[in-house]
Symmetry: C2
Subunit: 387 residues, 2 copies
């Protein structure tokens, strides 16, 4: 086990009819900038619950934080927050709104251009306004971590940025009842791959973290068909929402190495083709597993055995290969069961994109993954595996 | 899943040679009261590491916080903290030192007698000094929760008290190498039963919390014999230390009911016979399982299957009874493997004690457990089962 520091001060307020807690969670003397994405929260009743909870508070609304939030939009939000002298930010929405609001909370009290904060990357010790969130889409874990991913349309860049954890996050599973099924599939796949990035590395680093990561994976696999059957069953959606938050809040990464190469390749597919983030992960992950099956082999066997119940038949090399293969196939089947087209060709992506990603990785001198083995050439192999 | 609020702001600093982090974790302008138990930290090098890390700080030492810390001792510590105008408390030791220091941190800035704070029970919103800890005995989880149990020798009372979480806790697994093996067994049993109290209730409340609880139980069962073999193997002791903290920091109790009747019966055995806390749990738990095997039956079967690999042979009543019986026997065997004498008679405890506990439970009108079914009569049945 590696040395680690764990610190997650976010207060999680979870359950039915909890949005009303906003009334007491935000002090009355604050001036709040409430940030939103599109208008879906007006249709599902979340907007009404938020404004009703804040009826004694002073707040200003900012609408239009888009998926893959851009610095261009966030600059407008920051200007609005400065204009109204806001000293609290409340994000209402999914991961994009929350990610964007982390930058807004920093930018409102920053004198320069907010993109400068992104370029610092680590702003965990910087000054920010307090941020609260009302989550409506389980997926990114942003509601209980310090990370955010912000895009720059002008320069076609997309960077991760680390700031403060939200002070509190309110999760009412009922808000997920009306999500489009594709977004639910994305949330399930996103959670699954978040866990895999922290788990599918070297065996024997932390038996407990292994069990907890496997626990989330087992749970996601168990509930996915139930959710497909009925997206308005409270218990299932509550389990989904809790799993998504626990998948990326640091609880399963104590003392272990992490990978994240699937994410880095996936980000390029989004940048080049506009594919939804989770969809790119469903495409790339099986390729990563096939290409890195030597270095990740022991953990793939453990994953297969404990999560999918795949028993390796013997101790010989062929039995091991077979167990690894069956496990990767099961992983692919899981993504297919969520409705994803998991081959590049099915998404009209070909050699030109592979070439471009290889070039970008080489140019940035990337050596990704827990063993720093994923460079441009390996990224090419991974993508060729999922052609 | 029940509604819940989760908030655990403790910063966990975990790993080799981490005690030196004290230097930067406590601001230099603080006046620290450093609290200790007996002298074992002078023998294992922890005291030297602490004082070396604090050589630029102003601090005063208070020695002698005993197992089952008493208000009598803690009053002395509070007086010392007031005298030296301390504004930070650093606990160095196991659960008793940390529990006691939670009261000290509240008492130093409280004008009345500290026992009044205990009688408030919930002091989570009260004023306290910041508390840091250096843990030397994995067991109670006190290093990452807000609870404490404080005794009053004069009135022969023992009460739980909820205050603030430690600001930070430093866990260096190397500090456990020289613990007496009996204390290590106690730490393992304590962790095991903490998890059981949060898990062995009603099935289907939270699939994820179930997996995480089972993950800790599996891990504890896996490492127990390894620790017996070699108490100086870093990886095993690190896993033990991490498991103990995760067993009682709220991470596995989100949205689920809890039991704690085994603990309440166990506390009486400690009060009446001075038995070590964890030892009482090892005695009582199998009795609780036997007596409550109807209401807890489904969860016992799940526990047996997932943690011990016990498969129920058929769907009939007899197969179920058999699976339940085998699971309870396995639980007993686990405690025996830790070296505990798990029958009351082996510990010279008989009918008189059972009678007294029944009387106390009845007098307090206890209805304990997740179904409020454990009263004096049921406590008697539980104890008769482990005669």
């Amino acid at each position: 086990m590696n040395n680690f520091i764990f610190h997650n001060p976010t207060k999680l307020i979870f359950g039915k009819e909890t949005i009303s807690k906003l009334t007491t969670e935000i002090p009355l003397d604050k001036t709040i900038l409430v940030t939103f994405g599109g208008g879906s929260v007006k249709k599902n009743g979340v907007y009404q619950q938020v404004t009703s909870a804040l009826k004694e508070h002073t707040y200003h609304e900012f609408w239009g934080i888009e998926p893959n939030p851009s610095i261009e939009t966030l600059r407008e939000a920051i200007a609005a927050g400065k204009e109204h002298k806001c000293d609290f930010v409340l994000a209402v929405g999914g991961g994009s709104v929350i990610d964007g609001s982390k930058l807004i909370a920093a930018g409102i009290i920053y004198d320069g251009d907010a993109w400068e904060l992104i370029l610092k990357r680590d702003y965990t010790k910087g000054q920010t306004l307090p941020l609260g969130t009302v989550l409506t889409l389980p997926a990114t874990g942003s509601e209980m971590n310090s990370g955010a991913v912000i895009s720059n349309k002008a320069t076609k860049e997309k960077f991760a940025f680390y700031s403060k954890h939200p002070k509190f996050s309110i999760l009412d599973p009922q808000t997920t009842y009306t999500l489009p099924p594709f977004q639910v599939s994305c949330g399930l796949a996103d959670t699954f791959v978040h866990v895999i990035e922290q788990y599918l590395t070297t065996t024997g680093q932390s038996p407990l973290m292994d069990r907890w990561a496997e626990g989330i994976l087992q749970t996601i696999i168990e509930i996915a068909p139930q959710i497909k059957e009925n997206q308005k069953e409270y218990e299932t959606m509550a389990t989904f929402m809790l799993s998504a938050t626990m998948g990326l809040n640091g609880f399963i990464s104590m003392g272990v190495t992490q990978d994240w190469s699937t994410h880095m390749i996936g980000h390029e597919l989004t940048a080049l083709h506009g594919l939804t983030h989770a969809h790119t992960l469903a495409i790339v992950l099986p390729g990563t597993m096939w290409v890195l099956k030597e270095e990740k082999g022991d953990k793939i066997v453990q994953f297969g055995q404990r999560v999918f119940g795949i028993e390796q038949k013997g101790t010989d090399k062929d039995s091991r290969e077979e167990a690894i293969g069956t496990t990767i196939n099961k992983t692919e089947q899981f993504f297919k069961s969520l409705g994803f087209k998991i081959k590049l060709s099915e998404n009209n992506i070909g050699e030109q994109t592979i070439k471009e990603i290889e070039k970008r990785f080489n140019k940035r001198e990337f050596k990704l993954g827990e063993n720093e083995s994923v460079d441009g050439a390996v990224a090419r192999q991974i993508l060729e595996h999922v052609k």
